[in-house]
Assembly symmetry: C2
Homo-oligomer: 211 residues x 2
Amino acid sequence: MTDTPIRLLLADDHPVVRAGLRAVLETEPGLEVVAEAATAEDAVTRATQGDIDVVLMDLQFGQGMTGAQATAAITARPGAPHVLVVTTYDTDADVLPAIEAGATGYLLKDAPPEDLAAAVRAAATGRTTLAPAVGDRLMHRLREPHAALTLREIEVLTLVAGGLSNQAIGARLYLTEGTVKSHLARIYTKLDVDSRTAAVATATQLGLIRR
Amino acid sequence: MTDTPIRLLLADDHPVVRAGLRAVLETEPGLEVVAEAATAEDAVTRATQGDIDVVLMDLQFGQGMTGAQATAAITARPGAPHVLVVTTYDTDADVLPAIEAGATGYLLKDAPPEDLAAAVRAAATGRTTLAPAVGDRLMHRLREPHAALTLREIEVLTLVAGGLSNQAIGARLYLTEGTVKSHLARIYTKLDVDSRTAAVATATQLGLIRR
DNA sequence: GCCGGCCTCAATCGAAAGTTAGAACCGGCG
DNA sequence: CGCCGGTTCTAACTTTCGATTGAGGCCGGC
């Protein structure tokens, strides 16, 4: 295990969090932090230079590209580093896009340092590590398909929760109002509700959307 | 300024964030991290032992007491350390309770390390440091006297947030549907929105209704 | 290749929600 | 006391939303 170290890129817009990850991981043998990125765009360019084994990726960045988009951009090309998502939230709205984008693992920031190091080593070999809460959520999705909203549906419902009208949602997502309605109709049957506010209420309750 | 160092307590439920704050602050001369706390309860007991000058307090903890409650408990007694809130969010629902609880400063976690160290030194002497976004928010509140909702309006809006229709709300509160609409119309003008879902969104953001 | 989800769009029709314009009630104040 | 501001209530009118039905394209599994 002491041959070549695992080379890491830290992508997070919080300097404090980057310093914390660095402090926690550099005490671990066989791990080496070789770069940091404060924006998702920087993370993509830095991760595609060929000298990174694992990217620790936050999902929320202040402006611009999201962590999920950056993850997709990084994992798109062959021979790319593995991306280990390290973030604060475990709602479907966060987890599903990240996994969809090709993340190798999904950890929460309250994870103890040992788990973090173990997950990094697992990710380096392509093995998946999920935070317990995330694993539970995915298992629950498989058992109870009733609450399983698709990615697009969560996207629409999140905008509904933000108070946008169907027309405004359509404009934002480049859809017609009719399409938005059709998504909402399916959301209503899946969640067994009959209005947008009720859908937001139960979806928030179930952790399908945040806020 | 090189006489006695400023003694710090780090209160955050994320090990990574604690390590990051420690790494960032220990490189600063005159600052010394003497304790950490992973829960708000621990923070209170540790902060009241007399050997702490400044507490860096997160607001969100996984379980139990919130950071704002802990801040109130700490600042309640005379001769208590100053509390510098260091958190992720700057919504009214976060900022106002923290300031109400006696926080000396309010910083966001995306602050650069220099600002952090400067804010700690300011807090040690009782001076206030606010993140720019927080300052703006407070100024804005003073200019736009926040149309506080009446009891009845909050009652109605809470039911709206629960997903009930105007008719159902009327039945619940022994009103006609028209009356409910009239209340909502007033709520919309006060909150400067134009739909029920938007009203719920901003009211939740502002902490006017819960969950 | 066929089938079954998922995403997209469309058009109707009834039912809510939102808008407007008032009126009754109550407490404080000149 | 009469006036006023705030709250509560009501009945119209307009707009948006939700239900329903139907259909085409795309992708992945059997």
